[in-house]
């Protein structure tokens, strides 16, 4: 029923796609390189900023997700979707948006100056963490919100009838849910932050904020020291897999058992103080996440008029690649939606995209022109990179579906195809929609490996943004970035909405 061979094939595909390119790079280099003097410092900074970023993202997501889970207000659905947007922004766009708010001449400092207060500088470790929280708080919030929604309505009724105090609610319902969801969310965010580069450098304010990924970039692009690049990317991979393993051990706790599909009505938190607190958390999160987005929109609007045919073609390419990546990623994720599968999947974002691209280039090169394969390779890599997110979203609910309906399906002798079509997919509709939206958006926003496989006829939108900026077309670049935001958010919203419609939330 759960077709094991498929899971093995899917896992081997991930391993092959991650280790194959590293091996190719290594073979080409003729051996491992050595670490330079700055590398240890880079490793330390990478670890510290990743840990802090993941910690604060998850910590802040807890009250926000709790508030969103138990409040009903007009526009809640739209807000939840909108809150997902920072995660899917290309870094350069998001950084400029953040700086417009928190920067030297940003809104916050402007406000402080108007009040006669001293300004503050965003540049430094705190800036890096702030930016990473901006990117990842939405993901953590959504994952925890899903955790709340996966608690069957019966439990809330029981809690209400027992008159559980807020503390008892937290102990009996929230804590088990958090134990199940939070370590995985932490791990996945930790791993994304591991490979941060442009964000860390720009907001870190200088060489102190050097990450391992930057060292890899330098090794590949400047020094052509492939051995060192391979070594560094294996260190990165090792860190990510260790974090994943730890999360796997910590993230125990059982599923919640099946509840029949009813709208989750909650009776807790109706007193005045919790209402105010929830409202405050939602407002703060919205303000923090949406203001920089609003700046991106405001900056981009005048630029939309300057967009040439190239940008529209690039948008079209991005959309096609996104569609293909999404389908591939979900088909890949379903058989892997188990504990070990999720661990294997983490490798997808752990390995440096630059090493991945270089390795794939070396592998493909003897057989075909890499330029002709630009879009297929981009599709494949985007799917691989989105895999950990899709798995994080799908796994808890896929496991719940399995534990609830495995026996019934066995008893009925459902064929694997019927199990997938009639039980797994329909039961997973909500997380599948979310995962699809995220994958599509990530794919649209991702620069991926295309730099090495770039094809002049088929640029993608993020590449177009960089090209425009490189030609002084800052206004057009802001327009293209807005286009990117619209498309990626549109794709995200459509899928996410599609999954949630009629899914009783």
């Amino acid at each position: 029923m759960a077709p094991r061979p498929l899971a093995v094939i899917a896992a081997l595909a991930v391993a092959g796609l991650v280790l194959g390119p590293v091996a190719a790079v290594l073979a080409r280099a003729g051996g491992w390189g050595t670490l330079g003097p700055g590398d240890w410092q880079a490793l330390r900074f990478t670890l510290v900023q990743s840990l802090l970023s993941a910690f604060f993202s998850v910590l802040l997501a807890i009250p926000v997700a709790r508030a969103l889970a138990r409040r009903r207000f007009p526009g809640r659905g739209l807000l939840i979707s909108l809150l997902g947007a920072p995660f899917i922004l290309p870094t350069i766009v998001a950084v400029l948006g953040l700086i417009a708010v928190f920067g030297q001449n940003g809104m916050v400092n402007g406000g402080l100056r108007a009040l006669g207060l001293p300004g503050f500088s965003i540049y430094g470790l705190h800036g890096v963490v702030l930016a990473h929280v901006f990117f990842n708080l939405p993901l953590a919030t959504r994952l925890l919100l899903q955790g709340w929604l996966a608690i069957p309505a019966e439990r809330f009724r029981l809690a209400a009838s027992l008159g559980l105090s807020p503390r008892a609610m937290r102990r009996t319902l929230e804590r088990p849910m958090l134990l199940r969801i939070a370590p995985g969310a932490f791990a996945v965010i930790f791993v994304i932050c591991l490979s941060s580069f442009a964000v860390a450098l720009t907001l870190g304010g200088g060489p102190r904020a050097t990450t391992v990924e930057l060292a890899i970039y330098q090794a590949v692009r400047f020094d052509f020291d492939l051995g060192r690049a391979a070594l560094l990317s294996m260190i990165q991979l090792g860190l990510a897999l260790a974090a994943g393993l730890l999360a796997l051990r910590l993230g125990t706790g059982d599923g919640f058992g099946a509840g029949l599909d009813r709208v989750v009505t909650r009776w807790d938190g109706r007193a005045g103080l919790p209402r105010v607190m929830d409202g405050a958390w939602i407002a703060l999160a919205a303000l923090f996440l949406l203001t920089p987005l609003a700046m991106v929109v405001a900056r981009g609007l005048p630029g939309l008029a300057h967009l040439g045919a190239g940008s529209w073609e690039a948008a079209w390419n991005s959309l096609t690649v996104a569609l293909a990546s999404t389908i591939l990623c979900l088909a890949w994720a379903l058989p892997l939606s188990s504990r070990w599968g999720e661990w294997v999947g983490l490798a997808g974002i752990a390995v440096s995209p630059l090493v991945l691209g270089t390795g794939l280039f070396l592998i493909v090169r003897p057989y075909a022109n890499p330029l002709a394969l630009a879009l297929p390779v981009t599709t494949l890599v985007n799917a691989l990179v989105a895999l950990p997110f899709a798995l994080r979203i799908l796994r808890p609910e896929a496991e719940a579906v399995r534990s609830e309906f495995r026996r019934l399906s066995l008893a009925l002798g459902l064929t694997p195809a019927a199990w997938v079509r009639l039980v797994l997919l329909p039961r997973l509709r909500r997380p599948l929609g979310f995962a699809a939206g995220l994958t599509a958006a990530l794919s649209i926003g991702d620069l991926g490996v295309i730099a090495l496989f770039a094809d002049p006829e088929r640029a993608t939108l993020p590449l177009q943004v960089y090209r425009l900026m490189g030609s002084y077309q800052m206004e057009a670049a802001a327009g293209a970035a807005l286009l990117l935001l619209i498309f990626s958010f549109g794709a995200f919203w459509l899928c996410d909405r599609g999954g949630r419609a009629h899914a009783d939330t």
Binding site: A258, L408, A411, L412, G413, L414, T415, L422, P426, R427
Partner: protein
């Protein structure tokens, strides 16, 4: 004849042994203290657990290694007997077409008949969430009717129902089993269920599933293990 031949099963400290035979068409209650292994016994019969040693035979055929759906067993669980996102027609249709294919007109008619038989005529478009607890149990029984297997394994499926409703359901099971000519294994912790429903009773206690005894005799002169379970020191 369902034969459990020198069957043993164990996980950690837990052990269960059974060496007994049950004739076809009988209604058998499986009673015993909580945690003694009543559900385990049913899971072994239904194929959700694999015995450590021994064999399971049905009419002389060894089914020890058969997967659940290839056993002559239809089972009702404590919960999750229906897929909540599928309407009753689809739920029941899966009993006829485990591949999920479209039902023929003949099969669709059978589904409607089965629903009508359990008193749910005309409700095939409803989803389980829109039914009462008793109606959900009836729908699950209709599914068993469609599966038409010679053994029915019921693992306390009506535990959540009120006494009157439960009795109705047990009567319905009796009728359904008679129609199918099926051997029924009913796990229950309520002696009343056994007395009312079962011709024979298997007592599971102290790591052992005892051979079946006529229910009347058993309760009239209960052995020590049963007395302890019933809370009677003496008859």
């Amino acid at each position: 004849m369902l034969t459990l031949e020198k069957l043993t099963y164990g996980v950690g400290d837990y052990r269960l042994a059974a060496d007994l035979a049950l004739p076809p068409g009988q209604r058998v209650a499986v009673i015993g203290p909580s945690g003694a292994g009543k559900s385990t016994l049913l899971d072994l019969v239904a194929g959700f657990l694999t015995p450590a040693t021994g064999r399971i035979l049905w009419q002389g055929r060894d089914i020890t290694a058969s997967p659940p759906n290839q056993r002559p067993v239809a089972m009702l669980f404590q919960e999750n007997n229906l897929f909540p996102h599928l309407d009753l027609a689809r739920n029941l249709g899966l009993a006829l077409r485990p591949g999920g294919g479209r039902l023929t007109a003949e099969e669709a008619r059978k589904v409607e008949e089965a629903l009508a038989r359990v008193g749910l005529g005309g409700m095939s478009a409803r989803k389980p969430g829109a039914l009462s607890g008793g109606q959900q149990s009836r729908a699950a029984l209709a599914r068993v009717l469609l599966q038409a297997r010679p053994i029915l394994a019921l693992d306390e499926p009506f535990a959540a129902l009120g006494p009157a409703l439960k009795m109705q359901m047990l009567d319905l099971v009796t009728e359904v089993a008679a129609e199918l000519g099926a051997l029924v294994l009913l796990v229950s912790h309520d002696p009343q269920d056994a007395r009312r429903f079962a011709q024979q009773t298997v007592l599971v206690a102290e790591g052992q599933a005892q051979p079946p005894v006529a229910t009347e005799n058993l309760f009239d002169s209960p052995p020590a293990a049963l007395r302890a379970y019933l809370g009677q020191e003496r008859p």
